[in-house]
Each structure stands twice: as structure tokens, then as C-alpha cells.
């Protein structure tokens, strides 16, 4: 079973946007894909996923429409908007800067000179 870590809202939004980069997905698909691309590190339950998807839609970064799933079930599909793509880019870049800085900070040995 995948490990469950606390996900900040912002990082969840980023992950969802990333999963939609290649094309529209329905809710379950997004959840599966997140688990896939994080190699099982993050498992996003429906309780966090649905509010996040709706929030992203209301912010204008994704749109939704009814479609058919692979099992011919009626499902709600989400896809990136142009603004969403731009948001994905900027958030990715920001996340990169943050993680680089954290990496450097945490790499300093405990007894290093100030």
C-alpha cells in the first residue's frame, strides 16, 4: 500500500494540474495518475480530491464536462485551460526554486561554520 503523507493544498493543486497536462481525465483517473507519477508516495483520497478539483475549476484553471469512461460509465472529465497551463508552468518553476533552496539548506552539515 502506498505511504500516505500530508499534502499541502498548494502541492495537491500542482499535482492535479500536472496530471492533466497530457490530456483530460476523470476524477478517479486523476487519483490513479497521481499515485502513478509519484511512484506511490502520494495517495489522494476522494475527500481531498473532489474539493481540490472543484476549487481549481472555480479558479479558472481547469474546465469540466461529462464524458464516457473506459468502462462506458458516465463520468466528469477535467482538462487544463490555457490559464491552467500557465499556472502549471509558473508553479512548477516556483516549486523548483523552493526545493533547491531546501536541498541546499538541509545539506549543510550540523557543525559547519556559520
Amino acid at each position: 500500500m502506498a505511504k500516505q503523507l500530508d499534502l499541502l493544498q498548494g502541492t495537491l493543486d500542482l499535482l492535479i494540474l500536472k496530471t492533466l497536462q497530457l490530456g483530460p481525465l476523470h476524477g478517479l483517473g486523476v487519483s490513479r495518475r497521481i499515485e502513478q507519477i509519484t511512484r506511490g508516495t502520494f495517495h489522494v483520497g476522494a475527500g481531498s480530491l473532489f474539493p481540490a478539483l472543484h476549487r481549481l475549476e472555480e479558479a479558472g484553471w481547469v474546465t469540466s464536462s461529462w464524458g464516457e469512461s473506459e468502462n462506458n460509465r458516465r463520468a466528469r472529465f477535467y482538462q487544463l485551460t490555457r490559464a491552467g497551463r500557465r499556472r502549471l508552468e509558473s508553479e512548477t518553476e516556483r516549486w523548483g526554486r523552493i526545493s533547491l533552496a531546501m536541498q541546499r539548506a538541509l545539506a549543510v552539515p550540523a557543525d559547519a561554520a556559520q
Binding site: G27, G45, G47, P51, G60, N71, R73, A75, R76
Partner: protein
């Protein structure tokens, strides 16, 4: 973007919800499909899918919360739900709303007074820059200056943008328009008066420098009210001349509607017109006859202006050597608004605090009601929690319901408020320094809103918090069992009622003390006999009788005429009656070899004055007809004067001289001492007084004593018509004004005390009623709770009276600690009333004892019905239900 979604969520809410439902279900279905594909049986797969997703309703709820405008939508839903719940228990809702309406309404009415009197800046532009000059004496602050002082300050001070001198008291004029003379009150003001206040006339202009000089054609500025009443709002009034006291006055302008200038010591505030003061500095240095206001220069602070005053005072002492004031402590500047409201600030705040306590008690009662009802609502709350609502959510909904109660009460209060304010003003004392009419305006509405919100929160927060923490499974199990014996609730409610009782004791003690004080005031001997006395004012036109001699001649003839009116015993004229504002000033007394300086009230009084007023002559004699211009100059003083200047000795034969600055002194011999009379107020001790016979006043002194108040003692009440006819018989053209029995004047002087006392009694009564209702409530509840126990007792042989005694003792167990705490609070806090009390100490034991007895009686009364209900318990029925 968000806005679009906001609209969608709020207006198309049902459709959004259906879509959400579809989406979530499809998610769960697909999850189940996955599991089936993994080989799990379909039903098991569905079950697992549901658990993994977390439940469909919870998912939908969580998603809905993420929608824009979710809070608004849930708020609206809460309000509608709350209204439905309140409608379902109309008894509870009605009582709660009415109780809160009562508390909020009383507070709003008092606040409208506080708003106008204390909070609102005066209706003048930048009214914070207006200051008022006062002399500080050992006896207190005197708001008056002499003409010389005013002129000097205006010239030499650097702190003021403009200054204005105002006559201390309005003068009366006879206005003749058409056939009937009317009596008009006019205030004499210096040229810059309107400029200092910063108010422009709505028609025409104010005075020029020329018009403010003596012996120039006279001018007058009319008030809006006078212009409406007497001149039919004639737009051509400016430039016309009118006849005041048979002299032509040019109307230069009309002031705006509602323009008011308040003199805090004035008995009645309204003035019909303004005339130029025409100050002549040298001639008028005899008395403190004017009051001075000024507008500070922009950028000057009060402290700077104050030091400037000190500098000018030093200069005036150098320049005018005779300018001596006894016991003087310098001249001080006070913000005008503070001076106007100074006296009423403390009593008004006390009333405000008292009415706040009433609201507190009302709030506690409502909280108790909510707690009682909360028990009934418990199962419903439990079900909601079980369905996945967060505690915060339930708390919010309950709180909304309670706030709804409060705002309904507030709305009711606001609707009724104008009536309450109107009633309040109707019996408020005339001397209330109202610069505007209190009414329900924006500030008052805002206050009502805030108070409602606070009351709703205070009443509802604890019950809501405890309800939303319900033990879920227990409550659902017990279902409809309403009286689950929540003992923590019962203890809380009893505690709150004890608090209510304590607060009512506090309010009742205050009301009791004020009542005793009022009774003492009304019983105080004012020093004269006000019964069977009729009084009126008559203004002797300055131009009609030009000299003191002719004036006194007129007065003497009128006195003779008045004495012969059927039923009249005697008549007199005095410059100011007791309890009317009069002139004062310095005097120097020489007795034997000693010289003393006294600050005195000075009056001119006709020979029959003391006899008419029934003021006993204690030493020497009263004035005689022979005390005229040809005889030696005499005065009569009162007992306080005698004690002040020669305690233990004899003041008769001593010489009194009024200090008159640069002018010569006026030594007169003291020939009599009369008993003290209350002058400023019944509550104030008698001041030192000096009386002059009108026949011995010279022209200048006569001009200073320009007012005349007439008194007639008669067997039977006289009518204004009789008096007017008598006056007309002697000289036509004077209007009799302010005709009133002396008892009315005495009553009006007590009006402020009566006002405060009556309000306190009303608040105490309200508080007591609310506390009694609260006590009744908890006792009823406890009797209902203990039905089983009562039935048991009765079955085991308890008599009805034992049961009643049990309920009574329960009532006392709640009330008596409250009484004790309340008495302690009273002992600590009633000292705040000290300035309002007369002849009564704040810890008067009789008062506190009376309060205790009243509370005991009320508590017994409140226990009566629950006690009676308890005796109606049928033991068989009670025991059957376990």
C-alpha cells in the same frame, strides 16, 4: 471568473448539487469496477468502494464547502432553518424575542440621549475648537467675566481666532405685531458671536461693528422659530424694522432652523432672537455679567491658550490696579462642549450603565430559555453530527438561530424606539442642554445593531457550544425523552439566576437610595413658603423708564395695584427669585475694625419682599418705605453672609461695598439679617446674599439689575388674565410672561433629580421582573424534573405544604446567595451615586434592608406557582413513569 461561479452556486444551487451527486456516484462506481476487476465480489466491491471514498454524503458536503460562496449559501440556509425552528416553538420564541426587545429597546432609548448629549460634537463647525472662560474660586467655578475683562482679553490674547461675549441671561422684550404684545426672549451677544460659533444666518446677515456700539440704531437677528411663528416666514423680513419694547430694531437676519446656543445653567434653553451686547468696557466692570466663549486659533492647543490666559491675567492686574477678586484662583479655559454637558455626564453615564445591567439580565433570561430548549433539540443535533456535519458547522447553525432571536428583538426595539424616545423627552427636565433633538438616527441604529449582536452571542454561545458537543449515540438512544436530567445544565441555569438576582439587588438599591434622596429634597425647607405664591416676569423696557427713579415709580404703582387685586395679600418685586439665576459679584464687608471679602449673590428687593415670601427677618429689620433715595444707603444680608464675614459677632451696622473694579465703591449699611433661602438649587446650601432696596439704586446699578420677577401671595389662585389687566391698568404695552405658581418653579428645579430617580426605578422594576421570571423558570423546570421524586414523597406521606416548602426553599437557595452578592455589590458601587444623593448616605442601612425584604417577597412570589404545581402532582401517575 469567481463571480460567475458565485452566481451559479447560489442561483442554480439545485442543478449544481445534482451534478455533484452524479459525479461522486460515478466515482464510487468506477472504484467498485476496479475492485471487481481485481476479483472481488460485486457487493463486497461496492462496500469497499464506499468505505474507501469516505461516504457519498460526506464527499458531497466537503466538496460543497469548497465552492465559492459556500459560506453565504450555508448562512442563508442556516437563517431559513433557524426561522423554521423558531416558528415551531412560538412560545419560546415570543418570550425570548420580547425579553430581548425590552432590554435592547431601553438601551437604545437611553443611548439616543447619550448620543445627542455626550457623543455628538456640537452642531457648530469644528466645535472642538470652542472654549469657554471661567474664573476659578474657592467656592467653585464662575462662568462669568466683566466687560473690562472681556475687552482686555480680546485685545491682548494671542490664542484666539475670535471671541464673543454673551449676556449671562436672556432678556425679555415686548414684541408688538398687530394688537397683542408678545413676550420674546432675546440674548444679547457681541458682534463676533455668530462668527465664533461658525454659523451663518439663513437669511440676511449678523451684526456689524457699528451696530454693536451703544447709542446706535438697534439691530436684531431672529431665530427661525420666531420668524415662522410671528412673521409667517416672510422672506422680506430682512431690512424691516420691528418694535421691541417700543424701540425700533432693524432685522438684519434670520438664523437657520434648529440653531441652538446652550447655556448649561439656564432653566429653559430656547431663545427667540439675538441683539447686540453693545459692551462698554469701563462702565460695566461692576459685576460678572457676561460669559465669554472663544474659538482657538488654528494650531493652538488648549494648554498653550491656557498659558496665554495666565500671561494676560498678569497684564490685566498690572494695568487695572483695582481689579481684585477675592479667593480667586485664576482664569481657566474649558472646552465649550465639556462645559455644556459637564453636569449631566455622570448621571447620564450611571443611567446608561443601569440600563446596560437590565439588558444583561434579559440576556441571561434568554440564555436560560435556550438552555431549557436545548434539551429538546439534542436528538436532532445528534443526528446531524452523525450524518457528518462538523461540530463547527452545527455550532454555526445554532448560533445563527440565537442571533436571529436577538435581531428580531432588536428590530422590534427599533420600531418601538421612537415612541420610547418621545416619552423620555416628554418628562425630561427642561434644563437638559440639548443641542439637537434626540431621535433614532444612524448612530442609534448602529448601536441597536451592535447591542443585538452582542446580546445574541452572549445568550447563545454557551448553549450552542455545549449542544454541539453532544454525546451522539446516547442522545439518539434516548430519543424523545426530554428531561434527560442534565444536571450540569441545571446548575448553570441556577447560577445564572443567582447572578440576575444580584444585579437586580444592585439596581434596586440604587433606585431606593435615589428615591430616599428625592423625598429628602422635596421635604427640604427652601427658606420661604412657595405655596399660595404666583410669580411672573415683566421686562421694564430700558427706553421706557429711563432712570432708576421712574422705574421704581412704575414698580411701586404696579405693586399697589397688584396688592389690591381681589384675593391678594401682598406683592413684591425682586431682581431674581430663589431658584432663578441671579447676579453675583464681589463685596467687601467692614464690621468694626475688620474687613472681609465675600463673594455674594446680589438682589434688589422691594420692601414687602420678605413678608410676601415669608422669609423670616432674624436680626434687625426689613426694608421700609423710608429707605429711599434721600435716606442713608442700606442693605439687608442673609445668615450665611453674617456667618461668613463675622462668625459669632454682630454684622448689623457693618458696611458693605460691592467691588466695582476701577469705579468707586458703594458702601451701604447693613440694617437687617434674613433667614437663608436656597438659591441655585434646593440641594445647594444657601449662598451669601445682599439685598438692595430698588428705591436706592442709581441708574447704573439699576441697569445691572435689569430683570424683574414679581410675586403675589394670595388666598386663592390668580389667573394670568387678572395680572395682565392689572399691569395694563398701570402701564400699557408690557406683556406678562412666565406666569406660574412658585410651587411650579420649585418642582422644575427638582426635575433633573426626579428624572433620574424615575428612570432608575423603572430600570430596577424591569430588572426585578426579569429576575422573578428567571427564578420562576428554573423552579418550574426543577419541579418538572423532580416529578418522580415529588410523587414518591407524597406517596410516603408528605403533605402539600411540605412540598410547597420544598419548592420555596429551592427558590431561596437560588435567590438568597444572589441577594448577598447583590448587597455586597451595592455597598461597593453605590458610592458612585454620591453626587446625586442628598441627605442620604450611599450605604444607608434602611434602604438596603428594604431592598432585601423586597427581594425575599419577590422570590416567594416567584416560587408560588411552581410550588402550587408541585402539589398537583398525582403520586400514582408520577411513580408509574420511571
Amino acid at each position: 471568473m469567481r463571480l460567475r461561479f458565485l452566481f451559479r452556486n447560489l442561483i442554480r444551487g439545485a442543478r449544481v448539487d445534482r451534478q455533484l451527486d452524479d459525479e461522486v456516484r460515478s466515482f464510487v462506481d468506477m472504484l467498485a469496477d476496479d475492485k471487481v476487476a481485481q476479483g472481488i465480489a460485486p457487493e463486497e466491491a461496492r462496500r469497499q468502494a464506499h468505505i474507501e471514498a469516505g461516504g457519498i454524503e460526506q464527499l458531497k458536503e466537503a466538496t460543497r464547502d469548497a465552492h465559492t460562496g459556500a459560506w453565504l449559501e450555508s448562512f442563508v440556509r442556516d437563517v431559513r432553518y433557524g426561522l423554521r425552528m423558531l416558528a415551531r416553538t412560538p412560545d419560546f420564541s415570543a418570550v425570548a424575542v420580547l425579553t430581548l426587545a425590552l432590554g435592547i429597546g431601553a438601551n437604545t432609548a437611553i443611548f439616543s440621549l447619550v448620543n445627542v448629549l455626550l457623543l455628538r460634537p456640537l452642531a457648530y463647525p469644528q466645535s472642538g475648537r470652542l472654549v469657554h472662560a471661567q474664573w476659578r474660586f474657592a467656592q467653585g467655578d464662575v462662568p462669568s467675566v466683566t466687560g473690562t475683562e472681556f475687552a482686555f482679553w480680546t485685545e491682548h490674547s494671542r490664542a484666539f481666532e475670535s471671541t464673543a461675549a454673551v449676556a449671562l441671561f436672556p432678556s425679555g422684550f415686548n414684541l408688538v405685531t398687530g394688537s397683542e404684545p408678545a413676550y420674546v426672549k432675546a440674548l444679547a451677544v457681541s458682534r463676533d458671536f455668530f462668527r465664533t460659533l461658525g454659523v451663518q444666518p439663513v437669511l440676511g446677515r449678523t451684526f456689524t461693528a457699528d451696530e454693536d456700539r451703544p447709542n446706535t440704531p438697534k439691530a436684531v437677528v431672529l431665530s427661525y422659530g420666531l420668524w415662522q411663528r410671528r412673521f409667517a416666514s416672510d422672506p422680506g423680513i430682512v431690512g424691516r424694522t420691528i418694535q421691541l419694547d417700543n424701540t425700533s430694531y432693524l432685522v438684519t437676519g434670520v438664523m437657520p432652523k434648529g440653531f441652538v446656543f446652550v447655556l448649561p445653567y439656564a432653566v429653559v434653553q430656547h431663545v427667540d432672537a439675538w441683539v447686540p451686547l453693545a459692551l462698554v468696557p469701563d462702565a460695566h466692570d461692576q459685576g460678572h455679567d457676561f460669559t465669554m466663549i472663544a474659538r482657538l486659533n488654528p494650531g493652538i492647543r488648549l494648554e498653550q491658550a491656557q498659558s496665554d490666559m495666565a500671561r494676560v491675567l498678569a497684564e490685566i492686574r498690572q494695568d487695572i490696579p483695582g481689579h481684585v477678586r477675592s479667593n480667586e484662583g485664576g482664569m481657566w479655559l474649558v472646552p465649550y462642549q465639556k462645559w455644556v454637558t459637564g453636569d449631566i455626564r455622570a448621571p447620564l453615564l450611571i443611567l446608561f450603565a443601569a440600563v446596560g445591567l437590565v439588558l444583561l439580565i434579559a440576556t441571561v433570561n434568554v440564555a436560560n430559555l435556550i438552555l431549557t430548549r436545548a434539551v429538546v433539540r439534542q436528538p436532532e443535533v445528534a443526528v446531524r453530527l452523525a450524518l457528518g456535519a462538523s461540530q463547527g458547522r452545527v455550532l454555526r447553525q445554532l448560533l445563527t438561530e440565537h442571533l436571529l432571536l436577538a435581531f428580531l428583538g432588536g428590530a422590534l426595539a427599533v420600531i418601538v424606539a421612537p415612541v420610547a424616545v418621545h416619552a423620555l423627552l416628554a418628562f425630561a427636565p427642561q434644563s437638559l442642554p440639548l443641542t439637537a433633538v434626540p431621535h433614532v438616527d444612524l448612530a442609534v441604529l448602529a448601536f441597536a445593531f451592535c447591542v443585538s449582536a452582542a446580546a445574541g452571542l452572549a445568550a447563545g454561545i454557551l448553549p450552542a457550544m455545549s449542544a454541539s458537543r453532544s454525546d451522539v449515540s446516547n442522545s439518539i438512544k434516548q430519543g424523545a425523552r426530554t428531561l434527560s436530567g442534565n444536571s450540569a445544565h441545571a446548575r448553570l441555569k441556577n447560577f445564572m439566576v443567582t447572578g440576575e438576582v444580584a444585579l437586580s439587588v444592585l439596581l434596586l438599591s440604587g433606585a431606593m437610595l435615589l428615591t430616599l434622596s428625592l423625598i429628602a429634597l422635596e421635604r427640604t425647607d427652601p427658606g420661604f413658603n412657595p405655596r399660595a405664591l404666583s410669580t411672573f416676569h415683566l421686562w421694564i423696557p430700558a427706553d421706557k423708564f429711563e432712570t432708576a427713579a421712574t422705574t421704581w415709580d412704575f414698580e411701586r404703582r404696579l405693586l399697589a395695584r397688584l396688592s389690591s387685586v381681589p384675593g391678594a395679600e401682598s406683592a413684591a418685586v425682586v431682581s431674581a427669585l430663589p431658584l432663578e439665576p441671579g447676579l453675583n459679584g464681589d463685596a467687601t464687608v467692614t464690621t468694626g475694625k475688620r474687613e472681609a471679602h465675600v463673594y455674594v449673590e446680589k438682589r434688589s428687593a422691594s420692601p414687602d419682599y420678605f413678608r410676601t415670601m415669608q422669609i423670616p427677618v432674624v436680626q434687625g429689620r426689613a426694608f421700609r418705605e423710608s429707605d429711599d433715595a434721600s435716606a442713608g444707603l442700606v442693605v439687608i444680608v442673609n445668615q450665611t453672609f453674617a456667618h461668613l464675614c463675622c462668625p459669632g459677632g454682630n454684622v448689623l451696622g457693618g458696611q458693605v461695598a460691592l467691588n466695582a473694579g476701577s469705579k468707586g465703591t458703594w458702601p451701604r449699611q447693613i440694617v437687617g439679617v434674613v433667614a437663608d433661602t436656597r438659591e441655585e438649587a434646593i440641594a445647594e446650601p444657601a449662598p451669601a446674599m445682599v439685598f438692595f432696596p430698588p428705591a436706592q439704586l442709581d441708574d447704573e446699578l439699576r441697569a445691572v439689575f435689569s430683570g424683574s420677577s414679581w410675586v403675589i401671595r394670595s388666598h386663592a389662585p390668580l389667573s394670568a388674565g387678572e395680572i395682565q389687566r392689572a399691569v395694563a391698568h398701570v402701564d400699557n404695552g408690557e406683556a406678562v410672561a412666565d406666569f406660574a405658581p412658585m410651587t411650579d418653579i420649585v418642582a422644575e428645579s427638582l426635575a433633573p433629580s426626579r428624572f433620574i430617580t424615575t428612570l432608575m426605578i423603572v430600570f430596577a422594576a424591569l430588572a426585578l421582573l426579569l429576575a422573578a421570571i428567571g427564578l420562576y423558570g428554573v423552579l418550574s423546570y426543577s419541579v418538572a424534573e423532580r416529578t418522580h421524586e415529588i410523587g414518591l414523597r407524597m406517596a410516603l406521606g408528605a403533605e402539600r405544604r411540605d412540598v410547597r416548602a420544598m419548592v420555596l426553599s429551592d427558590g431561596f437557595r437560588v435567590a438568597l446567595p444572589g441577594v448577598a452578592v447583590g448587597l455586597a455589590l451595592a455597598l461597593a458601587l453605590t458610592r458612585l451615586l454620591r453626587n446625586l444623593l442628598f441627605g442620604v448616605s450611599p450605604t444607608n442601612p434602611e434602604a438596603l434592608l428594604a431592598v432585601t425584604l423586597i427581594l425575599v417577597a419577590v422570590a416567594s412570589l416567584a416560587s408560588y406557582i411552581p410550588g402550587w404545581r408541585a402539589t398537583r402532582v398525582d403520586p400514582m401517575t408520577a411513580l408509574r413513569y420511571e
